[in-house]
Amino acid sequence: MNILVCIKQVPNTDKIKIDNEKHTLIREGVESIINPFDAYALEFANRIKDNDKNTNITVISMGPDQAKKALTSALSLGADNAFLISDKKFRGSDTLATSYILSQSIKHLEKTHGQFDLILCGKQAIDGDTAQVGPEIAENLNYPQITYVREIDVLKNSFRIKRETDEGYQILEVPFKCLMTITKPSFDLRFPSLKMKMKAKKTIIETLDLSLLSNIDTNYIGLKGSPTKVKKTYVNEIIKQSISINGSPKEIANELFKIIEK
């Protein structure tokens, strides 16, 4: 099977703190990680490969040169090849422009790697939290999409999947050549072996820029090609003066009861 996984390098948003004096986010020293949902997507690909050695996993990431680190780490976890999608002109792209660049890159890769039976994305990135790029790529490639996927079983020419909905979950069947976005599964992620780490470090990651991606129309990329613009950002500060309630559990319960009753 021919699988493509889209990953994004993100700051670990759990570790971001707020500078209450300057009213800004403190981003310095915050580590960069593979977006957790993308790491699950890669794990799903690896699990398919565990069962069928005749599986090829390609990983792509759009971002600055530093994002190669995320790709190297994907290689050490089992991806067969990795490409960085990077060009100064990509900067400032919103989700529509980003999904256009990624879709055109995937079409470019199909020329050398063949059509992908399965494209996997995380359900959303933990920095932007939009959950838009996956479905937008699916639309651009005219692939069926299944979002919030929790389990994947490979059948002969199709996948049987379990997806989450607001009210429960669904079991669906979808033929090969589809895109799925992945939510947190019930299993844990694997760790890279030392051998794989060494191998990944030696693997050269090719960068696809505009000179190689001649199928990209620059009118639809970057700040200029993005329909949405950020007007303003501000720090979400929450500070409250709280009243402490102390005493024995019974005294506390009595106090609480009075507050609730009001």
Binding site: E139, T233, I238
Partner: protein, 334 residues
């Protein structure tokens, strides 16, 4: 009324039985509020099966006009049928703005639709307003795991689209004397490659009304086990409250996902929010910080939940909650 009056569309998500979910009604009410001083018509868009009653209902809930497609293929949401049919309506009527709930359906449909339309979409908004001197919507949304708020505008492309979180706005009181236009549109057959084999619903055709609850008793990992869950459930039931949960608790399969509050769950603002053993990750706080009164019980006195709590109780929930339940029971006897 001129023919060219601009329209703000609101997608009314429905249950399988054709009844509307709260989210669409909340957006309808907010759309009416923000368009009050503007020459903009608020239109409800309904795709589904057995939705004829709902077309009237949304007019009572403030829609000035309804466009609907009633077809059995729309009974259960599927991406291709919904996107193609919605796209076709947009191409026929050219609305200026489209509001869609940031539900699992909305977040599946809206991005695919926006890519087909090649227009801007802002995800997961918690506030919408119209710019004073233009018809641009200012879409406000939390980002960076809730640490940062961003205001987004879509300047040139139309329609401008956004998904909006459930529970941020209140739905309108029904007014049965409201009048409006109802238009039926034709269903377009689509080639759906995805086959639904089975569907499991936690609670068919009803919502846990977290968004509308007056009191929410919410559980964090401090509840530890099923015994803790029982305790919190009992407290909720004694208080006639709804049950909420943090993501960590949901991920540990202690409480089902429909109860989840926070960045990836629901947004709530009850009169009283009782956080039991919730440490208070920013992702949780963004979903409940606007509650009127926040009571937090946690054994860790440095838990971040205390930074937004009105009442801080450092202690063991396994000792305090049983006492509280007793006290409530006693008061009912009096």
């Amino acid at each position: 009324m001129t023919k060219d009056k601009q329209e703000m569309w609101v997608f009314i998500e429905c249950f399988k039985n054709g009844k509307p979910k709260n989210i669409g009604l909340e957006l309808l009410n907010e759309a009416t509020k923000i368009t009050k001083e503007k020459n903009i018509r608020v239109v409800a868009i309904i795709l589904g099966n057995n939705i004829i009653e709902t077309t009237k209902y949304v007019i009572y809930a403030k829609a000035e006009k309804v466009i609907y497609i009633n077809n059995k293929n729309l009974e259960i949401y599927n991406t291709e049928a919904y996107v193609t049919n919605f796209y076709n309506l947009i191409k026929n009527y050219n609305p200026q703005t489209i509001l869609i709930g940031a539900t699992s359906i909305g977040r599946d449909m809206a991005p695919r639709l926006s890519a087909r339309l090649k227009t801007g979409l802002t995800a997961d908004c918690t506030k919408i307003e119209i710019e004073e001197l233009s018809d641009n919507i200012i879409w406000t949304r939390p980002t960076f795991g809730g640490n940062l708020m961003a205001q987004i505008v879509c300047l040139e492309n139309r329609p401008q689209m956004g998904t909006i979180r459930a529970g941020v706005f209140k739905k309108a009181e029904l007014n049965f004397s409201n009048k409006g236009t109802i238009i039926e549109a034709l269903y377009i057959l689509t080639n759906n490659k995805i086959k639904l084999i089975e569907e499991f619903l936690d609670n068919e055709n009803e919502e846990i009304n977290l968004e509308e609850a007056k009191i929410i008793v919410s559980a964090g990992l401090g509840i530890k086990n099923t015994k803790g869950v029982q305790l919190v459930k009992e407290l909720a039931s004694e208080l006639n409250a709804s049950l909420g949960a943090s993501r960590a608790v949901v991920d540990s399969n202690l409480i089902s996902r429909i109860h989840q509050i926070g960045q990836t769950g629901k947004t709530v603002s009850p009169k009283i929010y009782i956080a039991c053993g919730i440490s208070g990750a920013i992702q949780h706080l963004v979903g409940m910080k606007t509650s009127d009164k926040i009571i937090a019980i946690n054994s860790d006195e440095d838990a971040p939940i205390f930074s937004i709590a009105d009442y801080k109780i450092v202690g063991d929930i396994f000792e305090i909650i049983p006492e509280l339940i007793n006290k409530i029971k006693l008061s009912k006897k009096d």
